[in-house]
């Protein structure tokens, strides 16, 4: 495997019966063939002759000055190649997306338990483990910050002494209308404080990669990542390398969900490969290491006040958000900014005072996670909406419909919503569904010791990078020398199916079936920079670029074929699977023959697409704007959870779930459903069972026996309905579907539990213990919610 050549690693499909590729059809995913046979090679699957195993010594303490590292015994272990520390790094030794504040290897102090202290290279896993256990860190413990509100207080320990704002990574403030003063003009006000927990991505493939340094000085890194092009720059800067000498190759990750948005193993692997004597290096974090060192969904503390007129017209919103970003920026500032933008949900609220803090702590690192800050605030705003409906005596669907944004309305940050907006259609579809219409019957037929409730939630999710960071994609399509169509994917497919969708798009434009298609996965040397696999942007941004490239290639093929047949023009020609046909005569030329008439450079078409950005000047600070506010493209959804609570045990069980979503036109219903189902399952885990126990910065739940994610027996029957509103800027009318479904489950379940018991649990997850405690303390009386 040392002679592994990545330059011609293309996927064609061995088990595949060729299938037509039409937009709108449930074409089975083309990546599934290699995956069901176990042939697909993930980053974790790279080995090779003469392999070096690399592993990391972690801090194990949340906050401490590093006075020294003693690895004298470790290097004596037979089979040890090298032990590396920060002193071996010639670059900046810092990584990060916005603020580069995370060391590759700690040089001054540990800021969380997962910090990397030393990197060990060994001939085998046994020696590696032995050596890691023998490294001794000389730490001088420091008081820590383990709570975001505390972190902001005077006198709190400082996570970064050089940060001018203390433990404040970012503060965002947005005021619209008369802000808090509108309080006085409300007839009804509800108020609540919500606490949501850290959530682990729990992808099945933990962070993994493989790297080698070639004789020509090129550093090749194969890794499980969402962001190959950004990784390249980060690795180069941190290690002091010329970026053109760094190549990132990104196979399909075994799940990512935001947790591989940014550097995990990449820089460490690069460093290892620089010191392995030309041998290939493999690093694969175990599950515990993934828990301890990987990023999490930010734990959040959210204070809400929502006011309305007597008729239910929303009038005022006051929000204070505290997001625990852990010790490093990662994407914490951006997450907070999205939370602020979505704090008022998909509703018209003319007066708002929104304030938020992303706070440095010595807890695990907060980072990107599907939903990206929107999940937290949706949990809050959708619960206060229900509390308001209750206080007004209004039907919760009607309250939402009354205030739902429509195209042309302004969101709570004052941004004009110009994209397609199917929120009303989503809510109306939900209200006509049997699960809503027959909710009362269903609730009243609960068995003994059971109580039933039905809860709803609506949500929106901005997609793309916002107004400042360029959000673009560059698609490349090739007519190969043997007449196949090869699509170079610039955006990672971490499981969401965009690679297959790309083939569907190109195949449908070029009239080809799957058997004629080939795929190249993201590779900084072969595919073109197209941004990250994140922010519900993949198929929207790359798909638009791909349409351009495929259309260009199509015109070129038709023109060349027309010339060959001496036809009057390309309009007489049609691409059919494997060939071009001259329609007036029925004569055909196979593509493998036609391609002989192409110069190499003509066989490739590229197209650049840049996503539209909001033109609104809504008066936010340049810093907040840089962090992505406001967005211009939004997906929408409404969902319903039918929940049964066991009075005796407190256990809440979701019996049925309905999700109605507007993500524009659906290109592949099967893949669309996958995204909705998967988002809901993650959202239900977040709502009910996933609880990261962190004690003074130390995670106790470092495995799947204690961190409880849903199994096949835990996920209820899901009804998913797409409200397909055409989005004019989208490829074939599409908007992103990657994140929207994750946001609804927690508030819908919490609202359902409140409906069932008359008690609201303000802290998630809603475990049996919490519900039972709430119920036992004020259960049998009717409390107001």
């Amino acid at each position: 495997m040392n002679d592994q050549n990545f330059d011609n690693k293309n996927t064609s499909f061995s088990y595949l019966e060729s299938r037509p590729l039409h937009i709108g059809a449930s074409v089975p995913r083309l990546d599934a063939y290699e995956k069901v046979t176990g042939k697909e090679k993930y980053a974790a699957d790279y080995y090779g002759e003469n392999l070096v195993w690399a592993g990391v010594k972690r801090a194990g303490v949340p906050h401490a000055v590093l006075r020294g590292i003693d690895f004298s015994s470790a290097v004596k272990v037979p089979g040890i190649v090298r032990v590396l520390t920060h002193e071996d790094i010639t670059g900046s030794n810092r990584q990060g997306v916005i603020r580069k504040d995370q060391p590759v290897l700690v040089n001054d102090k540990a800021r969380h338990c997962g910090d990397a202290i030393a990197l060990v290279l060994a001939d085998n896993k046994e020696s590696l483990k032995e050596a890691l256990d023998l490294i001794v860190c000389d730490f001088e413990p420091l008081p820590g910050v383990f709570d975001s509100e505390q972190g902001l207080r005077n006198g709190a320990a400082l996570v970064h002494e050089d940060n001018a704002d203390g433990n404040r990574l970012l503060k965002g403030e947005i005021k619209t209308g008369s802000g808090s003063d509108a309080y006085k003009e409300c007839d009804v006000i509800v108020e609540a404080c919500f606490q949501t927990q850290s959530q682990e991505h729990a992808y099945l493939e933990t962070e993994a990669g493989w790297a080698r340094l070639l004789a020509n000085g090129k550093l090749e890194i194969v890794c499980s990542t969402q962001t190959p092009f950004r990784d390249r720059m980060e690795v180069a800067e941190a290690l002091g390398l010329d970026p053109t000498l760094v190549r990132i190759i990104a196979p399909y990750p075994g799940g990512a969900f935001g947790g591989k948005d940014g550097v995990t193993v990449q820089t460490l692997l690069g460093l290892a490969a620089l010191h392995s004597g030309g041998r290939p290096v493999k690093m694969w974090w175990n599950r515990e290491e993934s828990f301890v060192s990987g990023t999490k969904r930010h734990a959040a503390l959210m204070y809400y006040q929502l006011g309305a007129k007597a008729d239910g017209t929303l009038h005022f919103l006051d929000v204070r958000l505290y997001f625990d970003t852990g010790p490093y920026d990662h994407l914490g500032g951006v997450v907070l900014t999205l939370a602020l933008e979505h704090a008022g949900g998909p509703y018209r609220i003319p007066n708002a005072q929104l304030t938020g803090w992303a706070v440095y702590t010595n807890n695990p690192i907060g980072g990107a996670f599907r939903g990206f800050g929107v999940t937290q605030v949706t949990a809050a705003v959708e619960q206060v909406m229900d509390m308001l409906a209750q206080k007004l005596g209004m039907d919760p669907v009607k309250l939402r419909l009354k205030n739902a944004t429509k195209r042309g309305d302004r969101s709570c940050v004052g941004k004009t919503m110009v994209c397609s907006n199917g929120l009303v259609e989503c809510l109306e579809t939900l209200s006509k569904h049997d699960l809503w219409k027959q909710a009362d019957d269903w609730k009243s037929s609960a068995g003994p010791f059971k109580r039933r409730g039905v809860g709803i939630a609506a949500a929106m999710q901005g997609s793309g990078y916002g107004p400042v960071v360029p959000d673009y994609a560059n698609a490349k399509v090739e007519l190969t020398s043997d007449g196949k169509i090869r699509v170079y994917c610039g955006v990672v497919d971490m499981g969401q199916g965009n690679a297959s969708t790309n083939l569907q798009i190109a195949g449908s434009i070029l009239g080809q079936e799957s058997g004629q298609m080939e795929l190249v996965l993201p590779d900084t040397d072969r595919t073109l920079p197209s941004g990250s696999a994140s922010a519900s942007r993949c198929t929207y941004t790359f798909g638009n670029a791909l349409i351009g490239a495929a259309e260009t290639l199509k015109q070129r093929i038709l023109q060349r074929a027309a010339d060959l047949f001496m036809a009057s023009g390309p309009h007489e020609m049609a691409l059919i699977p494997g060939s071009v046909r001259h329609l007036p005569t029925g004569r055909e030329v196979p593509l493998f023959r036609l391609v002989k008439f192409f110069q190499d450079s003509e066989r490739i078409a590229v197209h650049h697409f840049r996503a539209p950005v909001a033109a609104d000047n809504i008066g936010v600070s340049p810093e907040i704007k840089l962090h992505g506010l406001p967005h211009t493209l939004f997906s929408f959804g409404a969902c319903l959870a039918a929940v049964e609570v066991d009075e005796l045990t407190g256990a809440a069980e979701v019996k049925r779930f309905l999700a109605v979503s507007d993500c524009g036109k659906v290109l592949n219903p099967q893949i669309y459903q996958q995204q909705i189902h998967g988002g809901i399952a993650q959202g239900l885990g977040y709502a009910l069972s996933e609880k990261l126990e962190v004690e003074k910065g130390r995670i106790l739940t470092t495995g799947f026996s204690t961190y409880i994610i849903p199994t096949a027996s835990d996920v209820p029957e899901i009804d998913s309905i797409a409200v397909e509103i055409y989005e004019p800027t989208g490829p074939f009318g599409l908007k992103g579907v990657g994140e929207i479904a994750t946001n609804g489950p927690l508030p819908a379940v919490a609202n359902a539990v409140a409906d069932a018991l008359g008690i609201r649990v303000f802290e998630s997850p809603l475990t049996a213990e919490r519900i039972l405690e709430a119920f036992a303390s004020n259960g049998r009386q009717e409390s107001s919610i």
């Binding site: 194990g60 896993k125 046994e126 483990k129 175990n286 010791f449 009075e647 005796l648 045990t649 407190g650 256990a651 009910l688 069972s689 126990e693 004690e695 106790l700 739940t701 470092t702 799947f704 026996s705 204690t706 409880i708 994610i709 849903p710 199994t711 096949a712 027996s713 835990d714 475990t767 049996a768 213990e769 919490r770 039972l772 405690e773 036992a776």
Partner: protein
């Protein structure tokens, strides 16, 4: 990645016992708990003694006195599906069906299950706790929501993780322990050790001893049994709270029987107080309520697990009601 060790697969119980008396030897049956413990550095092993070649330790069969003998190597799946057990010792079959996941039930053995190590996150994590020879139980002042409400002896507040052991206690099973000095039959209730007696061990097994079989006494006419487990996830999750019941009902009254709690104490916790309330009584709603109330009278909840009080009350009430109905 496991620390290296020597592996032997003896052909007889005697040979196995010989191996197990050597320094750092550990017995391997299904391996599911052993490998987890080794990987988590809960303890080490210089030698792993696989007893899987000992076919005498397999199988489930009726004994001459109409009891049932379960070989220590019977898998959890075999216990769960066995006809005799389902027919007569329903609560045991129910307990077995609640263990981990189907794959682990295929691998795990009943002998291993009743000897498994605690799941406390301090014990399994990188904490040198009192059970591992340290001098502190971190759970008392820490995250103790899943810890015990009985029997900590103020030393260690683990809960016993087995779903099978409570049912075995309810049926008054005996455990055959084989060692150098020969065999002994230990009533399973006496098989477990409370922290107050010895905080570093969970069972009475001495070095070089293994469990070879489990003997269920013949079932008494009129026995009704069940096992109820409450947990956060439906698969691969340990009990927050559970109750195993084996009661003999005659003429509408509870003649004898046992009530055993899981997720409650460092050992399967026999609730003598509940037994006292119900034995000799009709299982009417008044008795059942009183039984449930008394079950938790002497409980000593920790800072974060007081929810277990209403939980135990509720499931005892529920299960007794089910038993009463039949």
């Amino acid at each position: 990645m496991l620390p290296n060790f020597k592996y032997v697969r003896p052909g007889s119980v005697e040979e196995a016992i010989d191996h197990l008396t050597s320094e750092g030897a550990r017995v391997h049956a299904g391996g599911t708990d052993l490998l987890g413990c080794l990987r988590d550095n809960v303890f080490g092993a210089l030698k792993v003694v696989s007893i899987n070649a000992l076919d005498d330790l397999r199988g489930i069969r009726q004994t001459p006195d109409r009891g049932v003998r379960i070989g220590a190597l019977a898998t959890i799946t075999q216990v769960e599906n066995h006809e005799l057990i389902n027919e007569r010792y329903k609560g045991l079959a129910m307990g077995a069906s609640e263990v981990a996941s189907p794959q682990l039930r295929n691998q795990g053995t009943i002998g291993g299950n009743i000897c498994q190590k605690p799941r406390c996150w301090y014990y399994r994590g990188e904490f040198h706790c009192i059970r591992k020879g340290g001098n502190l139980c971190y759970a008392f002042g820490g995250e103790n929501q899943f810890h015990c409400i009985f029997g900590s002896d103020k030393k260690c507040c683990i809960v016993h993780p087995s779903d099978i052991a409570p049912a075995l206690v309810a049926f008054d099973a005996r455990v055959r322990v084989s060692g150098h000095k020969g065999d002994r039959l230990v009533p399973i209730e006496k098989f477990y050790v409370l922290p107050g007696e010895d905080v570093e061990r969970e069972t009475v097994l001495e070095a070089g001893e293994i469990v070879t079989e489990i003997i269920l006494p013949p079932i008494i006419e009129g026995t009704r049994s069940s096992y109820r487990k409450v947990r956060a996830r439906r698969s691969w999750d340990f009990a927050l709270a559970g109750v195993a019941l084996a009661l003999v009902l005659k003429g509408g009254k509870v003649e004898s029987g046992r009530v055993v709690l899981s997720g409650a104490a460092p050992v399967p916790w026999r609730s003598h107080t509940v037994e006292k309330v119900i034995i000799g009584q009709k299982l009417d709603s008044k008795t059942i309520t009183r039984a449930a109330e008394t079950a938790v009278h002497n409980a000593e909840p920790l800072a974060k697990n007081s929810y277990k009080i209403p939980l135990f009350k509720a499931i005892i009430e529920e299960e007794l009601t089910k038993i009463a109905i039949g």
